[in-house]
Symmetry: C2
Protein backbone atom coordinates (compact mmCIF):
# COMPACT_ATOMS: atom_id res chain seq x y z
CA UNK A 1 0.00 0.00 0.00
CA UNK A 2 1.44 3.31 -1.12
CA UNK A 3 2.07 5.93 1.48
CA UNK A 4 1.42 9.24 -0.24
CA UNK A 5 3.59 11.36 2.02
CA UNK A 6 6.54 8.96 1.80
CA UNK A 7 6.34 8.92 -1.96
CA UNK A 8 6.02 12.71 -2.11
CA UNK A 9 9.12 13.04 0.06
CA UNK A 10 10.98 10.62 -2.17
CA UNK A 11 10.08 12.71 -5.23
CA UNK A 12 11.07 15.91 -3.45
CA UNK A 13 14.40 14.40 -2.46
CA UNK A 14 15.07 13.35 -6.03
CA UNK A 15 14.18 16.78 -7.32
CA UNK A 16 16.30 18.66 -4.80
CA UNK A 17 19.24 16.35 -5.52
CA UNK A 18 18.98 16.91 -9.26
CA UNK A 19 18.56 20.64 -8.67
CA UNK A 20 21.64 20.79 -6.44
CA UNK A 21 23.61 18.90 -9.04
CA UNK A 22 22.55 21.33 -11.77
CA UNK A 23 23.27 24.41 -9.68
CA UNK A 24 26.68 23.15 -8.63
CA UNK A 25 27.56 22.52 -12.27
CA UNK A 26 27.15 26.18 -13.21
CA UNK A 27 30.21 27.73 -14.84
CA UNK A 28 32.76 28.83 -12.27
CA UNK A 29 33.68 31.76 -14.50
CA UNK A 30 30.17 33.25 -14.72
CA UNK A 31 29.38 36.29 -12.52
CA UNK A 32 28.41 35.10 -9.01
CA UNK A 33 25.57 37.57 -8.63
CA UNK A 34 23.57 36.04 -11.49
CA UNK A 35 24.22 32.51 -10.25
CA UNK A 36 23.23 33.56 -6.72
CA UNK A 37 20.05 35.21 -7.97
CA UNK A 38 19.14 32.15 -10.05
CA UNK A 39 19.70 29.85 -7.07
CA UNK A 40 17.83 32.21 -4.76
CA UNK A 41 14.79 32.13 -7.03
CA UNK A 42 14.70 28.39 -7.51
CA UNK A 43 15.87 27.10 -4.13
CA UNK A 44 13.80 26.52 -1.00
CA UNK A 45 10.86 26.80 -3.27
CA UNK A 46 7.49 25.44 -2.36
CA UNK A 47 5.98 22.09 -3.04
CA UNK A 48 7.57 21.41 -6.43
CA UNK A 49 4.13 20.55 -7.75
CA UNK A 50 5.23 20.43 -11.38
CA UNK A 51 8.26 18.14 -10.99
CA UNK A 52 6.25 15.83 -8.73
CA UNK A 53 3.49 15.63 -11.34
CA UNK A 54 6.10 14.83 -13.97
CA UNK A 55 7.72 12.02 -11.94
CA UNK A 56 4.41 10.54 -10.83
CA UNK A 57 2.92 10.52 -14.32
CA UNK A 58 6.08 8.96 -15.70
CA UNK A 59 6.07 6.18 -13.11
CA UNK A 60 2.33 5.61 -13.49
CA UNK A 61 2.88 5.07 -17.22
CA UNK A 62 5.67 2.57 -16.61
CA UNK A 63 8.57 4.95 -17.27
CA UNK A 64 11.64 5.53 -15.17
CA UNK A 65 11.94 8.75 -13.21
CA UNK A 66 15.39 9.32 -14.74
CA UNK A 67 13.72 9.67 -18.17
CA UNK A 68 12.18 12.97 -17.04
CA UNK A 69 14.93 14.43 -14.84
CA UNK A 70 15.68 17.24 -17.29
CA UNK A 71 12.02 17.89 -18.12
CA UNK A 72 11.07 18.24 -14.46
CA UNK A 73 13.99 20.57 -13.79
CA UNK A 74 13.34 22.68 -16.87
CA UNK A 75 9.67 23.15 -16.02
CA UNK A 76 10.51 24.18 -12.46
CA UNK A 77 13.06 26.70 -13.78
CA UNK A 78 10.39 28.10 -16.10
CA UNK A 79 7.97 28.31 -13.21
CA UNK A 80 10.61 30.09 -11.12
CA UNK A 81 11.46 32.63 -13.81
CA UNK A 82 7.77 33.43 -14.24
CA UNK A 83 7.50 34.21 -10.53
CA UNK A 84 10.61 36.41 -10.61
CA UNK A 85 9.27 38.49 -13.48
CA UNK A 86 5.73 38.45 -12.11
CA UNK A 87 6.97 40.02 -8.88
CA UNK A 88 8.71 42.94 -10.66
CA UNK A 89 7.48 46.47 -9.87
CA UNK A 90 6.12 46.89 -13.41
CA UNK A 91 4.18 43.64 -13.07
CA UNK A 92 2.55 42.52 -9.78
CA UNK A 93 5.02 44.49 -7.66
CA UNK A 94 5.31 41.96 -4.88
CA UNK A 95 8.10 42.23 -2.30
CA UNK A 96 7.56 38.77 -0.83
CA UNK A 97 7.52 35.31 -2.27
CA UNK A 98 7.60 31.97 -0.48
CA UNK A 99 8.08 33.77 2.84
CA UNK A 100 11.19 35.71 1.82
CA UNK A 101 12.04 38.76 -0.26
CA UNK A 102 11.23 38.38 -3.92
CA UNK A 103 14.29 38.15 -6.17
CA UNK A 104 14.30 41.74 -7.45
CA UNK A 105 13.81 42.99 -3.88
CA UNK A 106 16.84 41.00 -2.78
CA UNK A 107 19.14 41.69 -5.75
CA UNK A 108 17.77 44.88 -7.34
CA UNK A 109 15.43 45.25 -10.26
CA UNK A 110 17.94 44.95 -13.11
CA UNK A 111 19.29 41.69 -11.74
CA UNK A 112 15.68 40.59 -11.23
CA UNK A 113 15.01 41.02 -14.94
CA UNK A 114 18.25 39.29 -15.92
CA UNK A 115 17.88 36.44 -13.40
CA UNK A 116 14.43 35.70 -14.82
CA UNK A 117 15.89 35.68 -18.32
CA UNK A 118 18.73 33.46 -17.18
CA UNK A 119 16.35 30.97 -15.53
CA UNK A 120 14.20 30.73 -18.66
CA UNK A 121 17.23 30.35 -20.88
CA UNK A 122 18.72 27.79 -18.48
CA UNK A 123 15.53 25.72 -18.67
CA UNK A 124 16.32 25.12 -22.33
CA UNK A 125 20.02 24.57 -21.62
CA UNK A 126 18.86 21.79 -19.27
CA UNK A 127 16.42 20.34 -21.81
CA UNK A 128 19.17 20.21 -24.43
CA UNK A 129 21.67 18.67 -22.00
CA UNK A 130 19.83 15.33 -22.03
CA UNK A 131 21.85 12.43 -23.37
CA UNK A 132 20.31 10.21 -26.05
CA UNK A 133 17.48 12.46 -27.13
CA UNK A 134 14.54 10.48 -28.55
CA UNK A 135 11.63 11.65 -30.72
CA UNK A 136 9.34 11.30 -27.70
CA UNK A 137 11.65 13.53 -25.69
CA UNK A 138 11.64 16.17 -28.43
CA UNK A 139 7.84 16.08 -28.44
CA UNK A 140 7.92 16.57 -24.67
CA UNK A 141 10.31 19.52 -24.99
CA UNK A 142 8.07 21.04 -27.67
CA UNK A 143 5.06 20.88 -25.35
CA UNK A 144 7.04 22.52 -22.57
CA UNK A 145 8.14 25.35 -24.87
CA UNK A 146 4.66 25.74 -26.37
CA UNK A 147 2.79 25.73 -23.06
CA UNK A 148 5.24 28.17 -21.49
CA UNK A 149 5.16 30.72 -24.31
CA UNK A 150 3.01 33.45 -25.83
CA UNK A 151 0.37 30.81 -26.67
CA UNK A 152 0.42 29.48 -23.11
CA UNK A 153 1.63 30.82 -19.79
CA UNK A 154 2.95 34.16 -21.07
CA UNK A 155 -0.24 34.72 -23.07
CA UNK A 156 -2.22 34.01 -19.90
CA UNK A 157 -0.20 36.56 -17.97
CA UNK A 158 -0.95 39.13 -20.66
CA UNK A 159 -4.69 38.40 -20.40
CA UNK A 160 -4.37 38.64 -16.63
CA UNK A 161 -2.77 42.09 -16.93
CA UNK A 162 -5.42 43.26 -19.37
CA UNK A 163 -8.16 42.04 -17.03
CA UNK A 164 -7.01 44.47 -14.34
CA UNK A 165 -7.91 47.37 -16.59
CA UNK A 166 -11.00 45.85 -18.07
CA UNK A 167 -14.63 45.91 -17.04
CA UNK A 168 -15.10 42.40 -18.41
CA UNK A 169 -15.61 39.84 -15.69
CA UNK A 170 -17.23 37.00 -17.55
CA UNK A 171 -16.58 33.31 -17.11
CA UNK A 172 -15.11 32.88 -20.62
CA UNK A 173 -12.38 35.50 -19.99
CA UNK A 174 -11.60 33.98 -16.60
CA UNK A 175 -11.32 30.52 -18.13
CA UNK A 176 -8.95 31.79 -20.85
CA UNK A 177 -6.71 33.37 -18.24
CA UNK A 178 -6.67 30.37 -15.90
CA UNK A 179 -6.13 27.77 -18.58
CA UNK A 180 -3.18 29.67 -20.02
CA UNK A 181 -1.65 31.36 -17.00
CA UNK A 182 -1.80 28.38 -14.68
CA UNK A 183 -3.21 25.17 -16.11
CA UNK A 184 -0.79 24.90 -19.04
CA UNK A 185 2.31 24.78 -16.84
CA UNK A 186 0.56 22.20 -14.64
CA UNK A 187 -0.39 20.17 -17.71
CA UNK A 188 3.06 20.42 -19.34
CA UNK A 189 4.90 18.08 -16.91
CA UNK A 190 2.08 15.54 -17.14
CA UNK A 191 2.02 15.52 -20.94
CA UNK A 192 5.81 15.62 -21.14
CA UNK A 193 5.90 12.41 -19.11
CA UNK A 194 3.31 10.90 -21.43
CA UNK A 195 5.43 11.83 -24.48
CA UNK A 196 8.61 10.18 -23.19
CA UNK A 197 6.68 7.00 -22.42
CA UNK A 198 5.28 6.79 -25.95
CA UNK A 199 2.29 9.14 -25.73
CA UNK A 200 0.25 6.92 -23.41
CA UNK A 201 -3.19 8.29 -22.37
CA UNK A 202 -2.23 11.64 -23.90
CA UNK A 203 -5.74 13.02 -24.41
CA UNK A 204 -7.08 11.91 -21.05
CA UNK A 205 -4.04 13.33 -19.28
CA UNK A 206 -4.50 16.62 -21.12
CA UNK A 207 -8.02 16.81 -19.72
CA UNK A 208 -6.74 15.85 -16.27
CA UNK A 209 -4.06 18.54 -16.39
CA UNK A 210 -6.56 21.23 -17.35
CA UNK A 211 -8.93 20.38 -14.52
CA UNK A 212 -6.10 20.02 -12.02
CA UNK A 213 -4.65 23.35 -13.15
CA UNK A 214 -7.98 25.13 -12.79
CA UNK A 215 -8.43 23.55 -9.37
CA UNK A 216 -4.95 24.74 -8.42
CA UNK A 217 -5.69 28.32 -9.47
CA UNK A 218 -9.09 28.49 -7.80
CA UNK A 219 -7.71 27.16 -4.50
CA UNK A 220 -4.99 29.79 -4.90
CA UNK A 221 -7.68 32.46 -5.23
CA UNK A 222 -9.39 31.17 -2.08
CA UNK A 223 -6.10 31.22 -0.17
CA UNK A 224 -5.34 34.75 -1.35
CA UNK A 225 -8.75 35.86 -0.13
CA UNK A 226 -8.89 33.91 3.13
CA UNK A 227 -5.31 32.89 4.01
CA UNK A 228 -2.67 34.70 6.06
CA UNK A 229 0.79 35.79 4.95
CA UNK A 230 2.26 32.99 7.09
CA UNK A 231 0.09 30.32 5.47
CA UNK A 232 0.66 31.33 1.88
CA UNK A 233 4.18 32.79 2.08
CA UNK A 234 3.29 35.95 0.19
CA UNK A 235 1.18 39.07 0.64
CA UNK A 236 -2.52 38.07 0.83
CA UNK A 237 -5.49 40.00 -0.58
CA UNK A 238 -3.41 41.16 -3.54
CA UNK A 239 -6.00 40.06 -6.10
CA UNK A 240 -8.67 42.38 -4.77
CA UNK A 241 -6.26 45.27 -4.29
CA UNK A 242 -5.14 44.92 -7.92
CA UNK A 243 -8.66 44.49 -9.23
CA UNK A 244 -7.68 41.13 -10.70
CA UNK A 245 -10.25 39.01 -12.43
CA UNK A 246 -10.52 35.96 -10.14
CA UNK A 247 -12.89 33.09 -9.62
CA UNK A 248 -14.12 34.85 -6.49
CA UNK A 249 -14.93 37.99 -8.42
CA UNK A 250 -16.81 36.03 -11.07
CA UNK A 251 -18.57 33.41 -8.93
CA UNK A 252 -18.41 34.78 -5.37
CA UNK A 253 -16.62 32.86 -2.60
CA UNK A 254 -19.21 30.07 -2.40
CA UNK A 255 -19.42 29.85 -6.18
CA UNK A 256 -15.62 29.59 -6.43
CA UNK A 257 -15.64 26.77 -3.87
CA UNK A 258 -18.29 25.03 -5.94
CA UNK A 259 -16.19 25.47 -9.13
CA UNK A 260 -13.19 24.04 -7.31
CA UNK A 261 -15.29 20.99 -6.40
CA UNK A 262 -16.39 20.56 -10.02
CA UNK A 263 -12.81 20.68 -11.29
CA UNK A 264 -11.75 18.28 -8.55
CA UNK A 265 -14.45 15.77 -9.41
CA UNK A 266 -13.69 15.98 -13.14
CA UNK A 267 -9.96 15.59 -12.58
CA UNK A 268 -10.49 12.68 -10.22
CA UNK A 269 -12.89 10.89 -12.57
CA UNK A 270 -10.28 11.03 -15.36
CA UNK A 271 -7.21 10.08 -13.35
CA UNK A 272 -8.84 7.22 -11.43
CA UNK A 273 -9.33 5.32 -14.67
CA UNK A 274 -5.62 5.45 -15.50
CA UNK A 275 -3.93 5.54 -12.13
CA UNK A 276 -3.12 2.04 -10.93
CA UNK A 277 -0.60 3.33 -8.38
CA UNK A 278 -2.86 5.76 -6.56
CA UNK A 279 -0.40 8.62 -6.16
CA UNK A 280 -1.98 11.05 -8.63
CA UNK A 281 -5.44 10.23 -7.32
CA UNK A 282 -4.29 11.09 -3.80
CA UNK A 283 -2.47 14.15 -5.18
CA UNK A 284 -5.76 15.34 -6.67
CA UNK A 285 -7.47 14.93 -3.29
CA UNK A 286 -4.75 16.92 -1.55
CA UNK A 287 -4.94 19.67 -4.12
CA UNK A 288 -8.64 20.08 -3.37
CA UNK A 289 -8.02 20.15 0.37
CA UNK A 290 -4.95 22.39 0.40
CA UNK A 291 -4.72 25.50 2.55
CA UNK A 292 -1.12 26.46 1.64
CA UNK B 1 32.62 36.96 -59.10
CA UNK B 2 30.51 37.39 -56.00
CA UNK B 3 28.76 40.69 -55.53
CA UNK B 4 28.68 41.23 -51.79
CA UNK B 5 25.67 43.54 -51.74
CA UNK B 6 23.60 41.27 -53.96
CA UNK B 7 24.37 38.30 -51.77
CA UNK B 8 23.60 40.27 -48.61
CA UNK B 9 20.24 41.29 -50.09
CA UNK B 10 19.52 37.68 -50.99
CA UNK B 11 20.24 36.61 -47.40
CA UNK B 12 18.11 39.44 -46.03
CA UNK B 13 15.25 38.48 -48.31
CA UNK B 14 15.45 34.88 -47.18
CA UNK B 15 15.49 35.93 -43.54
CA UNK B 16 12.56 38.33 -43.83
CA UNK B 17 10.55 35.70 -45.69
CA UNK B 18 11.20 33.07 -43.04
CA UNK B 19 10.43 35.64 -40.33
CA UNK B 20 7.14 36.62 -41.96
CA UNK B 21 6.20 32.98 -42.25
CA UNK B 22 6.92 32.40 -38.57
CA UNK B 23 5.04 35.48 -37.43
CA UNK B 24 2.02 34.69 -39.57
CA UNK B 25 1.92 31.19 -38.08
CA UNK B 26 1.41 32.51 -34.55
CA UNK B 27 -1.69 31.13 -32.81
CA UNK B 28 -4.80 33.05 -33.82
CA UNK B 29 -6.18 32.55 -30.31
CA UNK B 30 -3.24 34.18 -28.48
CA UNK B 31 -3.70 37.78 -27.21
CA UNK B 32 -2.97 40.21 -30.05
CA UNK B 33 -1.03 42.64 -27.89
CA UNK B 34 1.72 40.12 -27.14
CA UNK B 35 1.95 39.06 -30.79
CA UNK B 36 2.03 42.71 -31.86
CA UNK B 37 4.76 43.50 -29.34
CA UNK B 38 6.81 40.48 -30.42
CA UNK B 39 6.49 41.46 -34.08
CA UNK B 40 7.24 45.11 -33.27
CA UNK B 41 10.48 44.12 -31.56
CA UNK B 42 11.73 41.78 -34.24
CA UNK B 43 10.46 43.45 -37.43
CA UNK B 44 12.12 46.24 -39.40
CA UNK B 45 15.16 45.43 -37.40
CA UNK B 46 18.56 46.40 -38.55
CA UNK B 47 21.08 44.52 -40.56
CA UNK B 48 20.29 40.98 -39.38
CA UNK B 49 23.97 40.46 -38.78
CA UNK B 50 23.52 37.18 -36.91
CA UNK B 51 21.25 35.41 -39.43
CA UNK B 52 23.47 36.57 -42.29
CA UNK B 53 26.54 35.16 -40.52
CA UNK B 54 24.69 31.89 -40.02
CA UNK B 55 23.65 31.56 -43.67
CA UNK B 56 27.05 32.62 -45.01
CA UNK B 57 28.97 30.24 -42.78
CA UNK B 58 26.65 27.41 -43.68
CA UNK B 59 27.06 28.00 -47.42
CA UNK B 60 30.81 28.48 -47.08
CA UNK B 61 31.01 25.06 -45.42
CA UNK B 62 28.99 23.41 -48.19
CA UNK B 63 25.67 23.31 -46.35
CA UNK B 64 22.29 24.43 -47.56
CA UNK B 65 20.79 27.63 -46.18
CA UNK B 66 17.59 25.72 -45.34
CA UNK B 67 19.57 23.63 -42.83
CA UNK B 68 19.92 26.71 -40.61
CA UNK B 69 16.57 28.48 -41.14
CA UNK B 70 15.42 27.79 -37.58
CA UNK B 71 18.83 28.51 -36.03
CA UNK B 72 19.08 31.90 -37.74
CA UNK B 73 15.54 32.83 -36.71
CA UNK B 74 16.02 31.67 -33.13
CA UNK B 75 19.24 33.64 -32.71
CA UNK B 76 17.60 36.80 -34.08
CA UNK B 77 14.68 36.34 -31.68
CA UNK B 78 17.15 35.99 -28.82
CA UNK B 79 18.95 39.12 -29.97
CA UNK B 80 15.62 40.98 -30.18
CA UNK B 81 14.49 39.93 -26.70
CA UNK B 82 17.82 41.05 -25.26
CA UNK B 83 17.31 44.52 -26.76
CA UNK B 84 13.75 44.74 -25.42
CA UNK B 85 14.86 43.91 -21.88
CA UNK B 86 18.00 46.01 -22.19
CA UNK B 87 15.90 49.09 -23.00
CA UNK B 88 13.68 48.69 -19.90
CA UNK B 89 13.72 51.54 -17.36
CA UNK B 90 15.42 49.33 -14.75
CA UNK B 91 18.14 48.45 -17.26
CA UNK B 92 19.51 50.93 -19.83
CA UNK B 93 16.28 52.97 -19.87
CA UNK B 94 16.30 53.76 -23.56
CA UNK B 95 13.20 55.18 -25.26
CA UNK B 96 14.48 54.68 -28.80
CA UNK B 97 15.74 51.68 -30.73
CA UNK B 98 16.33 51.33 -34.46
CA UNK B 99 14.87 54.79 -35.02
CA UNK B 100 11.52 54.12 -33.35
CA UNK B 101 10.15 53.85 -29.81
CA UNK B 102 11.59 50.95 -27.85
CA UNK B 103 9.09 48.15 -27.17
CA UNK B 104 8.25 49.03 -23.55
CA UNK B 105 7.81 52.67 -24.56
CA UNK B 106 5.36 51.63 -27.25
CA UNK B 107 3.45 48.96 -25.31
CA UNK B 108 4.05 49.78 -21.64
CA UNK B 109 6.60 48.32 -19.28
CA UNK B 110 4.74 45.15 -18.23
CA UNK B 111 4.20 44.14 -21.85
CA UNK B 112 7.85 45.00 -22.48
CA UNK B 113 8.92 42.45 -19.87
CA UNK B 114 6.49 39.81 -21.16
CA UNK B 115 7.28 40.44 -24.84
CA UNK B 116 10.96 39.90 -24.09
CA UNK B 117 10.12 36.67 -22.29
CA UNK B 118 7.89 35.59 -25.16
CA UNK B 119 10.62 36.28 -27.74
CA UNK B 120 13.18 34.26 -25.78
CA UNK B 121 10.75 31.41 -25.25
CA UNK B 122 9.72 31.55 -28.91
CA UNK B 123 13.34 31.22 -29.98
CA UNK B 124 13.32 27.75 -28.44
CA UNK B 125 9.88 26.96 -29.85
CA UNK B 126 11.42 27.71 -33.26
CA UNK B 127 14.52 25.61 -32.57
CA UNK B 128 12.34 22.66 -31.56
CA UNK B 129 10.05 23.08 -34.59
CA UNK B 130 12.76 21.80 -36.97
CA UNK B 131 11.86 18.62 -38.80
CA UNK B 132 14.36 15.73 -38.78
CA UNK B 133 16.56 16.89 -35.93
CA UNK B 134 20.11 15.52 -36.25
CA UNK B 135 22.85 15.26 -33.61
CA UNK B 136 24.66 18.13 -35.31
CA UNK B 137 21.54 20.26 -35.04
CA UNK B 138 21.21 19.46 -31.34
CA UNK B 139 24.84 20.51 -30.83
CA UNK B 140 24.06 23.75 -32.65
CA UNK B 141 21.00 24.38 -30.48
CA UNK B 142 23.09 23.67 -27.36
CA UNK B 143 25.63 26.30 -28.39
CA UNK B 144 22.88 28.84 -28.99
CA UNK B 145 21.36 28.19 -25.55
CA UNK B 146 24.76 28.19 -23.86
CA UNK B 147 26.06 31.36 -25.52
CA UNK B 148 22.80 33.22 -24.84
CA UNK B 149 22.57 32.31 -21.17
CA UNK B 150 24.05 33.18 -17.78
CA UNK B 151 27.42 31.86 -19.01
CA UNK B 152 27.24 33.99 -22.15
CA UNK B 153 25.21 37.02 -23.18
CA UNK B 154 23.20 37.39 -19.97
CA UNK B 155 26.36 36.99 -17.88
CA UNK B 156 27.96 39.71 -20.00
CA UNK B 157 25.03 42.03 -19.39
CA UNK B 158 25.42 41.46 -15.67
CA UNK B 159 29.11 42.35 -15.85
CA UNK B 160 28.18 45.40 -17.89
CA UNK B 161 25.71 46.52 -15.20
CA UNK B 162 28.25 45.95 -12.45
CA UNK B 163 30.82 47.96 -14.39
CA UNK B 164 28.63 51.08 -14.19
CA UNK B 165 28.98 51.08 -10.42
CA UNK B 166 32.57 49.97 -10.32
CA UNK B 167 35.82 51.87 -10.33
CA UNK B 168 37.46 49.07 -12.26
CA UNK B 169 38.28 50.02 -15.80
CA UNK B 170 40.92 47.48 -16.74
CA UNK B 171 41.31 45.70 -20.02
CA UNK B 172 40.57 42.26 -18.55
CA UNK B 173 37.14 43.34 -17.24
CA UNK B 174 36.33 45.02 -20.54
CA UNK B 175 37.29 41.90 -22.45
CA UNK B 176 35.09 39.71 -20.21
CA UNK B 177 32.12 41.99 -20.82
CA UNK B 178 32.60 42.26 -24.56
CA UNK B 179 33.23 38.59 -25.17
CA UNK B 180 30.11 37.59 -23.25
CA UNK B 181 27.72 40.45 -23.89
CA UNK B 182 28.39 40.78 -27.60
CA UNK B 183 30.84 38.34 -29.13
CA UNK B 184 29.08 35.17 -27.99
CA UNK B 185 25.85 35.96 -29.84
CA UNK B 186 27.92 36.86 -32.91
CA UNK B 187 29.85 33.59 -32.60
CA UNK B 188 26.76 31.44 -31.97
CA UNK B 189 25.32 31.62 -35.53
CA UNK B 190 28.77 30.90 -36.99
CA UNK B 191 29.38 27.86 -34.78
CA UNK B 192 25.80 26.67 -35.15
CA UNK B 193 26.33 26.58 -38.91
CA UNK B 194 29.56 24.66 -38.37
CA UNK B 195 27.75 22.10 -36.17
CA UNK B 196 25.03 21.35 -38.70
CA UNK B 197 27.64 20.83 -41.42
CA UNK B 198 29.54 18.31 -39.31
CA UNK B 199 31.66 20.57 -37.13
CA UNK B 200 33.88 21.84 -39.95
CA UNK B 201 36.59 24.38 -38.94
CA UNK B 202 34.95 24.66 -35.51
CA UNK B 203 37.96 25.99 -33.59
CA UNK B 204 39.05 28.47 -36.25
CA UNK B 205 35.48 29.77 -36.58
CA UNK B 206 35.27 30.18 -32.82
CA UNK B 207 38.32 32.40 -32.96
CA UNK B 208 36.89 34.27 -35.94
CA UNK B 209 33.58 34.83 -34.12
CA UNK B 210 35.34 36.21 -31.04
CA UNK B 211 37.39 38.69 -33.00
CA UNK B 212 34.46 39.70 -35.19
CA UNK B 213 32.29 40.15 -32.09
CA UNK B 214 34.89 42.32 -30.37
CA UNK B 215 35.25 44.35 -33.56
CA UNK B 216 31.47 44.75 -33.69
CA UNK B 217 31.29 46.01 -30.11
CA UNK B 218 34.22 48.41 -30.43
CA UNK B 219 32.81 49.93 -33.63
CA UNK B 220 29.53 50.23 -31.71
CA UNK B 221 31.36 52.16 -28.98
CA UNK B 222 32.88 54.47 -31.59
CA UNK B 223 29.48 55.09 -33.16
CA UNK B 224 27.92 55.80 -29.76
CA UNK B 225 30.63 58.34 -29.08
CA UNK B 226 30.85 59.96 -32.51
CA UNK B 227 27.62 59.07 -34.37
CA UNK B 228 24.30 60.94 -34.52
CA UNK B 229 20.86 59.61 -33.52
CA UNK B 230 19.96 59.43 -37.24
CA UNK B 231 23.03 57.36 -38.09
CA UNK B 232 22.74 54.86 -35.26
CA UNK B 233 18.93 54.81 -34.75
CA UNK B 234 19.16 55.22 -30.99
CA UNK B 235 20.20 57.81 -28.45
CA UNK B 236 23.95 58.50 -28.80
CA UNK B 237 26.42 59.25 -25.98
CA UNK B 238 24.57 56.90 -23.67
CA UNK B 239 27.71 55.02 -22.66
CA UNK B 240 29.37 58.06 -21.19
CA UNK B 241 26.18 59.28 -19.53
CA UNK B 242 25.77 55.90 -17.85
CA UNK B 243 29.42 55.61 -16.90
CA UNK B 244 29.68 52.38 -18.87
CA UNK B 245 32.98 50.63 -19.17
CA UNK B 246 33.76 50.90 -22.89
CA UNK B 247 36.75 50.47 -25.12
CA UNK B 248 36.94 54.27 -25.37
CA UNK B 249 37.09 54.62 -21.60
CA UNK B 250 39.84 52.01 -21.33
CA UNK B 251 41.93 52.84 -24.41
CA UNK B 252 40.85 56.35 -25.44
CA UNK B 253 39.30 57.04 -28.86
CA UNK B 254 42.51 56.46 -30.81
CA UNK B 255 43.35 53.40 -28.75
CA UNK B 256 39.86 51.97 -29.38
CA UNK B 257 40.31 52.51 -33.11
CA UNK B 258 43.63 50.69 -32.88
CA UNK B 259 42.00 47.79 -31.00
CA UNK B 260 39.30 47.61 -33.65
CA UNK B 261 42.02 47.33 -36.29
CA UNK B 262 43.73 44.53 -34.36
CA UNK B 263 40.49 42.55 -34.06
CA UNK B 264 39.77 43.14 -37.72
CA UNK B 265 43.18 41.92 -38.83
CA UNK B 266 42.96 38.84 -36.60
CA UNK B 267 39.46 38.01 -37.80
CA UNK B 268 40.43 38.49 -41.42
CA UNK B 269 43.56 36.35 -41.13
CA UNK B 270 41.48 33.47 -39.78
CA UNK B 271 38.54 33.68 -42.18
CA UNK B 272 40.61 34.19 -45.33
CA UNK B 273 42.11 30.72 -44.89
CA UNK B 274 38.68 29.06 -44.85
CA UNK B 275 36.57 31.31 -47.01
CA UNK B 276 36.61 30.18 -50.63
CA UNK B 277 33.47 32.19 -51.44
CA UNK B 278 34.66 35.58 -50.23
CA UNK B 279 31.45 36.70 -48.56
CA UNK B 280 32.62 36.47 -44.94
CA UNK B 281 35.93 38.07 -45.83
CA UNK B 282 34.06 41.00 -47.38
CA UNK B 283 31.67 41.00 -44.40
CA UNK B 284 34.66 41.40 -42.09
CA UNK B 285 35.91 44.36 -44.13
CA UNK B 286 32.49 46.03 -43.98
CA UNK B 287 32.27 45.49 -40.25
CA UNK B 288 35.53 47.35 -39.79
CA UNK B 289 34.38 50.21 -42.02
CA UNK B 290 30.82 50.55 -40.71
CA UNK B 291 29.36 53.83 -39.49
CA UNK B 292 25.84 52.56 -38.77
Amino acid sequence: MLDFNDKYSEYLRYFEESLDKKLSSLYKTAPSVIKDAMAYAVEGGGKRVRPVLCYATCEMLGGNITDVTELALAIEFIHSYSLVHDDLPSMDNDDYRRGKFSTHKQFGEAIGVLAGDALLNFAFEILLSKKDITDGYINAAKIVADYAGYGGMIGGQVLDLLSEKSVRSDEKTLYDIYINKTAKLITAPILAASCVTGGKHFDALKEYGSDLGLLFQITDDLMDAFGTKEEIGKTPHKDEAENKLTSIKVFGADGAKEKARECYLNAKAVIEKIDDIGFLTAFTDKMFQRRS
